[in-house]
Subunit: 309 residues, 2 copies
């Protein structure tokens, strides 16, 4: 099967009005409304680094797109289109069918269109470049946290890292935590709703501590967080009680939850958002002018966040 | 060195007005004028597949961006911004400095801005996603060739393939042909000028025959080309005379010249373009209604174009 047949067979999904010309020319052509800005981000996932070697094609496809959608969520953007650069060791039709179906299913769920791609031969690697839109000057930035803002995270922290730890320890993770690791839910809905409520936002990919520090650094502020306020899933709660291994929570990564800061004057809006929608957010701390991150709780160890090299 | 230091050190070039927010947040934010459409394309280059293992960092960077710019050229687009997904086996500071400097130099030449990226650890691979703009409905498509159009190519065909062949035969290519292979010049200027003159256009990446057939298929037309009209460089001319190996010309790939079709009524415009600018284009054939590609010349062999798998 040559590249063109491969693309025709597995990736030539029907487009939408957004795309005038998708797969099949040198470039895709995309219409963008005035009053909007583009937001774009790229992430590569490599077998054995970002997902274990036995991960299913379906889970790989899901995660490759989800982690990119999560970057759009952190900007408060709506997803629009993406490109896929797929490097494969060989053509495995069953694998490709499963990969394609799973990718399409998630793309459809978030109304995002595949507009182009490239397939090459080599060690399995997936690079997705995702593009969304935000109303002009409405993007949620890392750099807009203000002293006095309350710090929140969505849902629970540490489930994915706990699954990954169990895999490394040759244990079998529960279905719940492995699902949090393989199929993190992109928080696009929450991100969009936070526009106008939150001052600053980031998605937690490398670990809560490191990602919160990105907000602090870019915003030239400090923060104090209370470890005991961080929302944990049941299994992780038991594990932390037994081990006091807070590094799993602070440096674990792969959660793809949002961490954001809200000025006190917007707390009513945030509460209304929580009441109206099925959204779970928890306050974990406060932005201050200390230029440092203080962690309150029975813990004084330095954690090592995920390092890319 | 962690990923953030790596990006700060090697890839945080100063942006332009185009980019409100470049490297340093979850996504880049980009302004796009009304009256324009986006065109986007992605290509991956892998060591040992798309460039020989001993290729310099500088040449790898150049080619990775150039082949993507070539896709924009084929659409008649202006380059705007790109993202870089870089997979490296390790951090080699000298390599990264050379890669970064060469990438920036080519980006500056074509006025394109690096807005985001991802670095991962693995076998050397470079994925660039390039985005440009065209005036609404002015893009050059593969699908717009008309019966009676004259078929042109820019500059000379086969130099890059000849260099690649010599490398595979353990010979040392001349500086001229290896340069055509490592540093193909993106034909953005020509592509932009062809908007309003050419009906259809493609860049020759996989081989003249296969790429011309893409135009024929998408346009539902046929063509006849005369092999002796294909413009060849001096070394390639000598090689073909000796070997009659027309497959090198027809199926060689890696030229990144443009192949385009021009209606007879626009020939004066094309001639004016040639006279005013330093642009070399040569007619090699005619679009007809045969639904097939006829090759006139002393040659009846089937060539195998580049296959991605």
């Amino acid at each position: 099967m040559n590249e063109f047949a491969l693309i025709e067979t597995y990736f030539n999904w029907s487009g939408s009005n957004l795309v005038n010309l998708g797969i099949g020319d040198d470039c895709a052509i995309i219409d963008i409304d005035a009053n909007y800005q583009l937001v774009t981000s790229v992430d590569t996932l490599i077998e054995g680094v970002h997902f274990p070697i036995n991960t299913s094609a379906s889970d790989i496809a899901y995660k490759s797109l989800a982690v990119n959608l999560s970057d759009l969520a952190a900007m408060g953007a709506r997803a629009k289109y993406f490109t896929l650069a797929l490097t494969l060791p060989d053509i495995n039709k069953k694998w490709l069918s499963q990969f394609s179906a799973s990718l399409k299913s998630l793309a459809d769920e978030f109304d995002i269109v595949l507009v182009g791609g490239d397939t090459t031969k080599g060690a399995l690697s997936i690079t997705i470049n995702v593009t969304g839109v935000v109303e002009k000057n409405k993007a949620l930035l890392r750099s807009s946290a203000q002293v006095g803002d309350l710090i929140f995270v969505s849902n629970t922290i540490g489930d994915a890292a706990y699954a990954w730890k169990q895999l490394q320890d040759k244990k079998t993770p529960s279905e719940y935590v492995i699902n949090q690791f393989n199929r993190p839910k992109p928080q696009l809905f929450l991100g969009q709703k936070l526009s106008g409520i939150a001052n600053a936002c980031i998605d937690i990919s490398d670990g809560l501590e490191q990602d919160l520090i990105h907000i602090l650094t870019r915003s030239s502020v400090g923060a104090s967080i209370n470890l005991n306020d961080i929302p944990l899933g049941n299994e992780v709660k038991v594990y932390i009680k037994k081990t006091n291994d807070w590094c799993l929570i602070l440096a674990g990564g792969d959660d793809y939850e949002l961490c954001f800061t809200v000025p006190v004057k917007n707390m009513d809006l945030l509460k209304a958002l929580q009441n109206k929608n099925n959204v779970t957010v928890t306050q974990i701390g406060v932005i201050n002018n200390s230029m440092a991150l203080t962690k309150i709780g029975s813990f004084d160890k330095q954690c090592c966040s995920y390092q890319h090299f």
